[in-house]
Symmetry: C2
Subunit: 320 residues, 2 copies
């Protein structure tokens, strides 16, 4: 129960990552109310969606506006910005750099680039462009549990030569435990001595909060979370738990409880995410949750024994 | 991802602790099927209920048979014992020692005594009786987060002079994190060098699995868990996660998935336990979940802001 100053900052991803659950079908009022709550709670960043280009994605017309953030729209949604900064995520190959205004003309403060290890070079090129336009930047390397040491060391070299502000450790499959997090944080700190670090966890094995807490104690600064853990499949580290439990911080829990009561608990009645067994199984097996998501959308959604057999019988599972 | 031999043993408390959720309304078939699954999975102990005396408890006639285990009944339920041993819990003041047969005539292998710190002397006297009758024994000290150092040191002295086999660290309120668990395990190891240790966690802050895993890595031997985390209020460490993730063990996940699919997932549709906000709030505030349980049984079950205000406003909360 020791107290100390904690330098961590929370990046609430409810709208961006939660949008993967409900196809970004959040009302403007929902996002406004959430922004107010996070701002009052003292959360440093709200990731309000993706900044990908609808021209570069199929099915774009069916998604809510938070999938393709537009600056004019965003200005109407949040006419009065508080202390909470706004963030957007982009994916390699899905963003048109011409869509990105200079920061001085934009509502956004932070642009984060998500990529797999093989695309770190492309990710860093995007980072360079956004950095030049005045944004804070992060590079989020996904699926680290499936990356070999040599690939990672090569990526570190490129990152060290780049302008990126923060580098993220992303537990895409929710397969990492506290020892793995400690190992990765120490490796990143050793090889990226001049970069700040971030962490994004998934809750497949109910370790998202614990892993985030441990990363924070090891010096990781940017902590991704979402209210009620809303996010694809097993979801994320719950914002309310970080707010309640991070030592040496000045967050307020009450405004987040308000958002939970008014927004997220009712939404969870309609949409599904969290600790659900098929996601536990893919997390345990250290693989992408897509097979579990397909199962949950089928008639056999609770047939976890068959599902487990399929994933663990090599001759049946052609994906392996 | 290092491998090593793990000396931990799982004590599955689904029926005993889960009974606090459904008033022990489990069918004989449910318990038989669960026993088969746990035995096949390699779980070392199944706690099949309480061994308290109905004479010493109000409302006893309304509870299922697992609240007051009877040896003749148990012999019919599990006519063929496998490798999984059977355990029962008793509470101070609620057990009639004349009900406890010698182990050679009983289905039970382990009797555990739960007590608060002030009753450690009484708990150890019960332990002595059960030990003399041939049982393995544990002393489970509840609510450790509310215990002062001097009380704990006194208890350690009594425990060291006793015959008890295993001493439990119990996070009754689900308020402890990994640092607290590490602190307690190290303290217990230092002061009880000749006793084995156990841990029982609660999931109010989604830390039950993580805390149990960390305790195991620090040398704690007996790990309490329940399938799907079924247990009072926020519930326990999920058995399936320990089975899946404990390194250096030979557990099998598939039989537990079978129990989940056939028994626990359907039961969770009817009964409530787990990460639910009022329990998160009592865990965060390090207090008993009774106020949260009362809230969940009322019309206001989702009004978490009012609930939080009540618990955090001293002049309103007469309990404090």
């Amino acid at each position: 129960m020791k107290t100390m100053t904690n330098h961590s900052k929370i990046v609430d991803c409810t709208i961006r990552d939660g949008g993967l659950v409900n196809n970004w079908d959040f009302s403007v009022e929902f996002v406004q109310k959430l922004y107010e709550s996070l701002n009052e709670a003292g959360v440093e960043y709200m990731e309000v969606g993706y900044k990908n280009s609808p021209k570069l994605l199929k099915g774009a017309d069916k998604a809510g506006p938070w999938r393709f953030l537009n600056d004019d729209f965003l200005r109407k949604v949040i006419p009065q910005k508080g202390n909470t900064k706004l963030s957007a995520l982009v994916d390699i190959g899905r963003v048109d750099e011409n869509d990105i205004l200079p920061r001085s003309e934009s509502m956004l403060d932070l642009i984060r680039v998500a990529c797999y290890i093989k695309d770190v070079d492309k990710g860093l090129e995007l980072v360079r462009i956004f950095h030049e336009r005045g944004y804070e930047t992060t590079l989020n390397i996904m699926a680290l549990s499936n990356v070999m040491e040599n690939e990672l060391l090569e990526a570190f070299e490129m990152i060290n030569e780049s302008v990126v502000d923060v580098v993220y450790i992303v537990d895409s499959y929710g397969s990492l435990d506290h020892s793995d997090i400690k190992y990765l944080v120490e490796k990143f700190k050793l090889h990226l001595p001049n970069k700040r670090l971030g962490v994004h966890t998934h809750n497949n094995m109910q370790l998202a909060f614990s892993n985030t807490l441990i990363a924070s104690e090891l010096g990781v600064e940017l902590l991704d979370a979402s209210v009620y853990g809303m996010g694809r499949a097993a979801g994320n580290c719950p914002t309310e738990l970080l707010i309640a439990h991070l030592k040496g911080t000045k967050y307020k829990l009450r405004p987040v409880l308000d958002a939970l009561e008014q927004l997220l608990v009712p939404l969870r009645e309609k949409e599904e995410w969290g600790y659900i067994l098929p996601y536990m199984i893919t997390g345990h097996l250290d693989e992408h949750p897509r097979s579990a998501m397909a199962l949950r959308n089928s008639e056999n959604k609770d047939r976890v024994v068959d599902f487990y057999d399929t994933l663990t019988t090599p001759e049946v599972n052609f994906d392996k």
